[in-house]
């Protein structure tokens, strides 16, 4: 078990492509850290640099306080679960799990003991004599995990281990990995492009975009205080809504009316003409069922809902609207980076399941202004979070590649002014 430290890590390929840029990260002993981002963001490359399968172009890597830049994978004492499991097809499940122990010349008795213990933990006992070809996807995945945990490695590395499983099994294995990590208490780095895995598994999440760290924070912090448009758009499903607004004397003119931000969310708007307002779907509500005590904290506006999706516990309503051309183009670009495609500018609004707003009619919606963010459309920076940081209300971690050690319970960032 060990801490992993990355200092100014860079990866440049032969053709000049910079896959990873200036990554600084401190992973504490026993911490579960997620590397997340859309495809091609460098998260797998980073993981493979930690394990030693990719060379480090520049920067330093320390595992357990020791510099490992020049060490071969086998000298780093890490164990890894590959995306496609990489089981040895000519060996039985038992020998697959025992493989790392055999290489280290462990006595047979101890090998047997430890393989059986790992098999117990992963419920593989009845499959020990079978070959990987005869196992189901979930079983193969567990064998790969068994091979990783059988050895006393300094850290576990997971490279999208669940992406080949079907949805139901993925959910089960996710819980299983979380349980296993808590039980063994081993430092874990986990790569995924699935934000549900990122949010549920990690102590801290590292969001990467084109090889650059965007934000390193707890899942809650990422969700509530994203530092920029990219993180805001990436974390959360359905994603955050972005509404363009023109600034007129400290007030915001939006397609849905004129809004004034409350003190707690105000940002420095001086000298700006256009900003983007970010609001998560659940910041909206059907105006008719908002209680009077909170109504004053938000604004009520009229909008035409064209489609609603009722899911039982809640419902989503879609409100198309017209946005200026340049803002549209920018939002489309952001969507493309996030591996999705925006067909139209629309609000996705989460309404209470009891709301009975009919489709295709103008309805009255309420937006909680205490939960909106203001973004700079050019740089993507979250002005609200920046202003809060300056006021000292919250301390979101710095944006660019400065993942500090995990926050101690005592100094966790203050909750933003939500009730």
């Amino acid at each position: 078990m060990a801490a992993i430290t990355l200092k100014d890590i860079n990866k440049t390929y032969g053709d000049g492509f910079r896959a990873v840029q200036d990554v600084n990260l401190e992973i504490a002993d026993g911490e579960f850290v997620i590397l997340v981002g859309p495809s091609g963001c460098g998260k797998s490359t980073l993981l493979r640099m930690i394990v030693g399968l990719e060379d480090i172009t520049s920067g330093e890597m320390f595992i357990g306080g020791q510099r490992v830049n020049e060490k071969a994978p086998r000298d780093r004492n890490l164990s890894m679960v590959f995306q496609n499991y990489a089981l040895y097809p000519h060996l039985t499940v038992y020998e697959n799990i025992a493989f790392p122990l055999r290489l280290s010349k462990t006595p047979d008795k101890e090998v047997d003991e430890r393989v059986r213990r790992a098999a117990d933990l992963l419920e593989l006992n009845e499959h020990l004599e079978r070959k990987p070809a005869n196992l189901s996807g979930g079983q193969r995945q567990r064998v790969a995990m068994g091979r990783a945990i059988v050895r006393e490695a300094q850290a576990f590395l997971f490279d999208e281990p669940l992406s080949n499983l079907d949805a139901k099994l993925r959910g089960q294995m996710r819980t299983e990995i979380s349980r296993l990590q808590k039980r063994l208490g081993i430092t874990t780095v986990y790569v995924t492009h699935d934000q549900v895995e990122a949010m549920t598994l990690g102590d801290r999440v590292v969001v990467l975009r084109r090889g650059v760290v965007q934000q390193v924070a707890t899942p809650r912090e990422l969700y509530e205080n994203p530092v920029n448009l990219f993180v805001a758009g990436f974390i959360g499903s359905p994603p955050m809504n972005f509404i363009s607004a023109t600034v007129v004397g400290g007030r915001l003119h939006t397609p849905f009316g004129e809004w004034t931000l409350p003190e707690s969310r105000s940002a420095d708007l001086s000298g700006r003409e256009v900003v983007l307002i970010g609001a998560r779907p659940e910041a909206f509500e059907d105006a008719s069922i908002v209680s009077d005590t909170v109504r004053d904290h938000g604004v009520v506006f009229d909008a035409t809902i064209d489609v609603t999706e009722w899911l039982g516990n809640e419902q989503y309503a879609y409100v198309p609207y017209e946005a200026p051309e340049d803002i549209r183009a920018q939002l489309a670009e952001l969507e493309r980076e996030l591996d999705s495609e925006a067909l139209r500018t629309q609000l996705v609004v989460a309404l209470d399941a009891s709301s009975r707003i009919p489709e295709g009619t103008p309805a009255s919606l309420w937006l909680d202004l205490r939960r909106v963010h203001v973004f700079d459309p050019e740089t993507g920076e979250n002005l609200t979070v920046k202003a809060m940081a300056q006021r000292g209300e919250a301390t979101p971690e710095p944006a660019r590649g400065n993942g500090g050690p995990p926050a101690e319970p005592g100094d966790s960032p203050a909750e933003p002014a939500a009730p």
Partner: protein, 282 residues
Amino acid sequence: MDEGQLSRGTKAWWWVAGIAVIVYALFPVAWIVSLSFKTPSDLANLQFLPTNWVWDNYDNILVGDAQNLFLSALRNSVGISLIATFISVVLATFAAYAIARLDFPGKRLILTTALAVAIFPVISIVTPLFNLWRNIGLYDTWPGLIIPYLSLTLPISIWTLSAFFRQIPWELEQAAQVDGATTWQAFRKVIVPLATPGVFTTAIISFFIAWNDFVYGISLTSTEAARPVPAALAFFTGASQFEEPTGAIAAAAVVVTIPVVILVLLFQRRIVSGLTQGAVKG
């Protein structure tokens, strides 16, 4: 394992088709076997089975008049084919491993050259080779046949082996390294066991090519020093000059087929494909 699910009609048709193929393929072999047991007077009697089963033809080639001709040819064939196969498999294994695993300039060139060599007609190079071999003293020697055989076996070996190596997931080797293996251990404990069926398949194909060659065998040899079996058969003579050596040739053909059959039966289990199945998902 799907047999149980086939309907009875379909199953019957498979049997009929299978038998037809087997008869078509094995009938000439059976004819030769039957010829080899016939007496000279029986040869042209248009009967499938010999009227008298005799071992005369086998006596003739193994202990009789044709003994010198046949046994030395058999020794040459076995020796030359085995050496050519061994060299070609070793070289092709290294080449194919590099082609499948490394990115180096000229990789495509090697593959296309190999293909070009493979499609080059043997007959067009045999005459210049004949002259060259005589000048440098390789004519009628084992190396004089092994080298041209390599030009036949190497291209196909490189192609089959590189295709085979490409199927072995690269990640297995990386997984082994992360698990604590050196490069050599990863190669020996993971790659070699997975590559063995491919290497055996290639070896057998190479051996057949060398074993069956006739053009080089007859053109580049003149004596028993290096003449292989297919060429030697052409030099068989009957008991008198009016007698065709058909029986002896048939017996020799049966004898040279036996090692090939044994080889295939021996390594049949090794050539099972799909051993890599289950390494990775999908």
